[in-house]
Symmetry: C2
Subunit: 319 residues, 2 copies
């Protein structure tokens, strides 16, 4: 069986679901349910790199950071360390649950979760327009004070009238710093958990030193870049629907099963997909096939067993 | 040049020093100063695995956990996730600074920091006598409540009269779960950061599933086991003295430059070394040579350039 390499981006609900309190026991249960479905890919001969988001977890870490400073005067950590912490904690949960799922199916494979640095351009236009909300909701007075003390930038919170949330830039990822090691690890047959939370954004300064800054990277964009960097064959973006729809939620809603580059571009130009939700996933899929990937798939974890499910994006329609 | 493999355990003061506030900037500076000295080992042809402690950092994470629950009602994380988080955050700092030190010296090597699981025996006698203090200091009323609510065990705090701290078991590490991958990574010439904070303690249940429990592992014992598991040649335990002394701090204090197995055992039986400080380091050194390692060295990072420094422990005195 020829070895194939797939990057699988676990969706937010693979770990923590909106209606849950967020205990570790819940997270472990959700992760196990999702990973169980990856056995189909492994049995089909795929080597796997798993990526994941960290929104709720890094949100909690930032809140605890704030509470720790206020209650116990503990020096707060910068955002890059919070993201690194979340890669550690979530990576451990996924690694442990993956080991147990493999064990259940009698599959002998090793699993590693690794810290992943992702290079961005410090002159990325995103730095002129920080847009990604992180951490807790503050009132106006608190937000003004933090803005003066720490230089943080705030935007109103759509969910909490009168509330403000810190916004940070979400620059485009340029390269996965750890790509060579990830390739070595998959070549050796290991399942690799990497680029958690979109990776820790870094840039190289004029001396080629690695430097940090306060930003976050979209996890699907990072997953797509990682897949291209390690020359993966396929990219799977797991979410809570088993197909992408044109005009989703309207009465002309239409299921999209196959998409080529040209038609996807047309849909994107027409604003067919929900902004900030399905649209960035489709862009990530398209970027991967544009960079040489053979196929991107958007689907639900539970549908991985049945290849008739999932929206498949390729450069050209298969003939 | 024949390749040699060394495990280097970075001491507490390699990262965070007692007299410092503990900001990330301070931690980054300390780490850089320490790592600068490892260039001597790299130039001597060593492949490296770096391990590190996490005491102050996981202490802060536990305090923030507590503050986040009290102020914002965020579900607290169990100790194993706190340790995993600290492996992420500290691992990232060490990886980034190591990359910059290598860059400064024009050395092309890749660096990876990885989550490390360490197997312990869930029937280890340490579980009958939890001894390792973790997290914040509570007053009696708080400690009694936590003891009733969460089943935590408390001991008085030697540093804070009237204070109580949670104690957890510190079992003996049995095997580094990720040892095969660490070997692959060093075989490929990568510098590996692993077993942070002594590793995340886990055990395998009757179905061979990986399970967690609340405990911490001594980082020097974990480093020694890791060195043996990956068949390293040498183990370096970096600390704040450049030699081990017999009867340190007394008027018969005597510098120990070389120690064989028999003499080390005799010293340990005589209680020559400070308990909970130098004594566990020496035991870790001895365990490594007993398991086939050629040499253990206890020294100061700044003395790595000069092999006349450092206490060298071998099975037999070199002839």
């Amino acid at each position: 069986m020829k070895k194939k390499l797939a990057v699988v981006a676990l969706g937010g609900n693979a770990i923590l679901r909106g209606n849950e309190e967020g205990t570790i026991v819940q997270q472990e249960k959700n992760v196990t349910d999702t990973l169980e479905n990856l056995i189909h890919l492994i049995n089909d001969g795929y080597e796997l790199v798993l990526t994941h988001g960290n929104g709720p977890q890094v949100g909690n870490i930032l809140m605890r950071n704030d509470a720790g400073e206020q209650m116990y005067n503990i020096a707060p950590m910068p955002l890059n360390i919070c993201v690194a912490d979340s890669q550690g904690g979530i990576g451990f949960i996924i690694e442990r649950m993956m080991r147990n799922v493999l064990n259940k199916h009698g599959i002998k494979k090793n699993v590693i979760s690794m810290i992943t640095l992702v290079e961005i351009d410090k002159d990325d236009p995103a730095f002129q327009n920080p847009s990604k909300r992180v951490g807790k909701t503050y009132n106006k007075e608190e937000a003004d004070k933090l803005s003066a003390d720490k230089g943080w930038i705030f935007k109103t919170s759509p969910k909490t009238p009168g509330g403000f949330r810190r916004v940070v830039p979400s620059p485009t990822p340029k390269s996965i710093v750890n790509r060579q090691i990830i390739e070595q690890l998959t070549d050796n047959g290991n399942i690799v958990i990497a680029a958690g939370g979109g990776g820790i954004p870094v840039y190289f300064d004029e001396n080629n030193d690695v430097r940090t800054l306060d930003a976050v990277i979209d996890k699907d964009m990072a997953s797509s870049l990682l897949a291209a960097n390690i020359q993966a064959d396929e990219l799977y973006i797991l979410t809570d629907v088993s197909f992408v729809y044109k005009d989703f939620g309207t009465d002309k809603q239409q299921k999209l099963e196959f998409l080529d580059y040209k038609d996807t571009m047309k849909h994107l130009e027409n604003g067919t997909f929900a902004e900030g939700s399905m649209e960035p996933k489709i862009r990530a899929c398209l970027n991967f096939v544009k960079r040489g990937g053979s196929k991107s798939v958007v689907t639900e974890a539970t549908k991985l067993a049945d290849k008739s499910y999932g929206t498949k994006i390729t450069m050209n329609y298969e003939s």
